[in-house]
């Protein structure tokens, strides 16, 4: 996504490059928004039936009830008119109302969002820190026992899919040993707790999902960092530095590690994609009230507005972070700033 220019671009060209980048970013967002609208409607099934099935088994209704419900939720017009309607409301920041709960989609999104951010954010942070530290050392001393142990260990842990690791940890540490709570993101109604107590409570609930999510990310960050280190070690400047007798530490951290970090920046965007994915499973296993669960549930009821809302948040979030990563990458990499 980042182009390396051999010559320093003029201010004009720089502006054009920026305009192009912003333009393609906006285009991407537009296409995503459109896909968000279309894909749910391509799924078999009807949200009105999803809604009616929330009623009692003997809830009776005539055709006019269904027609009225369609109209109420704006599902009665042609696909094109629904699309314009959707775009128009989106422009005004209106995500619509959930068909199932009749609550604003915005509310449905903002409740789980902090929990998902907490889980994904802390997991990516921890995975990167572990991955970077382990990667630097392993890469610098490649093929030593430490490197091999880390490699086999981390890569093996990585192969435990969240739907296996989650249940195992839940069973051993929560059900059997009672070390961690069974479910949720916090003890319900814990707002009476003091601040410290609350933090501990939230942390205790976070540990197991966090471990599972981090296990899926850390090996990747580690491999990336290690490969980066190995590559840097093979590059001319390190050889030159060594030949000149630069101190090992300086070479390792100031030069090699710094350059090897670059790919991790753009990788963060992928980490987020991977975390969001794993999250759907993890939130199911631990009953964690996040966005993944919301998405999965709303797909089950074909709740179009909620599916659209979650996707909008995820896809625009990922596209934006990608774009930001590009910018940061450009800043960090001397070759691209020229």
């Amino acid at each position: 996504m980042t182009t390396t220019s051999p010559v320093a671009p003029s201010a004009h060209r720089q502006r054009r490059r920026w305009a192009g980048a912003v333009g393609s970013y906006l285009f991407m967002v537009y296409v995503l928004i459109t896909l968000n609208f279309l894909l749910p409607r391509l799924m078999p099934g009807d949200p009105i039936n999803g809604l009616l099935s929330q009623g009692s088994a003997n809830f009776t209704f005539g055709q006019q009830t269904r027609t009225a419900l369609r109209k109420y939720y704006g599902l009665n017009g042609s696909l094109l008119s629904q699309y314009w309607h959707y775009l128009w409301r989106l422009l005004h920041g209106d995500l619509g109302r959930s068909v199932v709960t009749n609550a604003p989609v915005w509310h449905e999104l903002t409740r789980p969002l902090p929990w998902t951010l907490l889980l994904i954010g802390s997991s990516i942070l921890i995975a990167n820190v572990i991955g970077i530290v382990a990667g630097i050392h392993a890469g610098w001393r490649r093929d030593r026992p430490m490197d091999r142990a880390l490699m086999v260990g981390l890569v093996s842990i990585w192969q435990f899919p969240p739907y296996l690791l989650g249940p195992i940890l839940l069973f051993l540490l929560a059900v059997k040993l009672h070390w961690f709570p069974l479910f949720g993101a916090q003890t319900p109604f814990s707002n009476t707790f003091g601040f410290g107590h609350r933090v501990v409570d939230i942390a205790a609930h976070l540990v197991l999902p966090l471990v599972v999510l981090t296990a899926g990310l850390v090996a990747w960050d580690y491999l990336l960092m290690r490969a980066g280190m190995v590559t840097e070690l093979g590059s001319d400047y390190v050889m030159l530095g060594r030949a000149k007798g630069l101190r090992e530490r300086r070479l390792k951290y100031r030069y090699a590690a710094r350059n090897a970090l670059l790919p991790l920046v753009s990788n963060t965007a992928f980490d987020i994609g991977a975390a969001v994915t794993a999250n759907i499973v993890i939130e199911s296993v631990f009953s964690y009230p996040g966005l993944g669960r919301l998405l999965f549930e709303s797909i089950g009821t074909r709740d179009y507005p909620v599916i659209q809302g979650v996707f909008l948040l995820l896809s625009v979030g990922i596209v934006t972070i990608n774009a930001l990563a590009d910018v940061i990458y450009g800043r960090l990499d001397p070759r691209t700033t020229a």
């Binding site: 809604l51 099935s53 003997n58 009776t60 009225a68 009821t301």
Partner: protein, 546 residues
Amino acid sequence: MDRRRFLLASLGGVAAVAASSCGSGSGSASSGRAVHLPQGATGFPSPFAANADIGYGQASLVYDTLLWKDSSGQLLPWLAQSYTESPDHLTYTFQLRPNVRWSDNQPLTADDVVFTFDYYARQQTLSPPVIIQPPDGIAKVSSSGPLTVEITLAAPRVTFLEQVAGALPIVPRHVWASIKDPGSAQDLKVLVGSGAYRVVSYNGDGGPLLFVARNDFFLGRPFVQRIEERAIDDPFSALLRGAADYGSGLGLRADTLAQFTANPGFGMVTNVGASTNAVYWNLGKLGPLSDVRFRQAMLMAIDRQELVTRIAAGRGKPGNTGFLGPDNPFVAPVPQYDFDVAGANALLDAAGYRVPAGGGTRRDPNGAALSFTLLMDSAQAPLSEILVADLRRVNVELRPNPVVIGPQLFGNKLTGSYDIAVLQFPGPGPGGPNADPDVLRRLFSSNVPPSLQGATDYANPAFDKLADMQLTAFDPAQRKTLVAQMQTILAQDLPVVPLYFPEWTGLFRKSVLDQWYFTPNQFPVAENNKQLFITGMKTGTAIRPG
């Protein structure tokens, strides 16, 4: 079927989340009893936004009805301290309790009751997202004094007291009069009720829900002071560990159950027929599906006892061709077409559905193969596997078509795009086999509008007539006779047959609350009735001390 149940269903499980709402208890700081329940909010707990039977139960903690039922099936005086019924069963006069106050301290008057009936009636056209059934058959509601309400019916209905007076949550005029779209009014401020509990914390659909008792409640200080609905997916682990005080589900395995029955600290209540999986035939299709002999033979080919053994871990009863559940007092003995493969084969042969010379799937007289799609919830795969194997024994082919339960299963069923379907009556509730027998009319009479779980294209004038007659049969013995005749017709026609009734098992921690019960007719609330939380007892309105 709340959304979490959908999730669980999609995850392949039997619905692990128990039905209706409630619980109670004491705050940790304030004194009093606290009950922790595993379910979560099922929609916003106002009468107009709550979803399904569970959501109704949650709203019922905040809102009261004129009458309310306890474990004896008796309708207790609730908002109404007494009522009179005219000899023609058309006019009911309710005398409201004096000094009932809304939670914002305004007095509850006859005016509010009249408003409530008007408001619900308007929602039928104004604001369709109301998912509870608006009362029908009401001709006029008026007040004759500040505490006297007179309700006139268009036609007599034996179910009126239970299903309208005992079910319709009375809402305050001063809150709702200005609200045009009640389904979307989801601010805690609108939850002004006359009930024993206030909603203190609501965290969205599926999230935890906290109720705290109102000590100015008209029956006195509620026995349970605090009800925590904690939104737990696995109620039994939570119960065992102390995170919940009640957990219920169906077809509990022996190894799970043993962990509770071995411990004297836990108690158990059961109900067979609260839930069922029923087979539906698309009677609108010509050929074998609309041939009753074929349906009889299919029932003989399916080992319904084996379904109990294999799917419900042996806890439950085989299905009943008369539809009603084993614990329903109206259940009548009817022919069952017991498991008999030879008999099924003979019946199919006699009906002209013959096995081709070289073996294989039977053909009908026109040469078409007896091969049918089986529309089913993806989570019911084990059941479908048994059915496929059972019918293969009599050379009939079933092709499973697993779909998502709400949007697809019911959609296909409503539009008749299926051959044979299996639909679940998921748990205790007023629409299942243990409900008031009027459920038979609602599901099978051709005079009522369609419902999700009603029969497809079933019309039997004799049944329709009986169904209408039982609605005006005020003599219980007479009603029972009529309902028995209805079941006989159903057992002949076989439009929908419950395949098995898994036992619905409720387990509870005795030290917190020990009087749990299932409400007769599973209405207005099937389990965790607020009467229990308020009084601490199974019956009556007198509050247990302590």
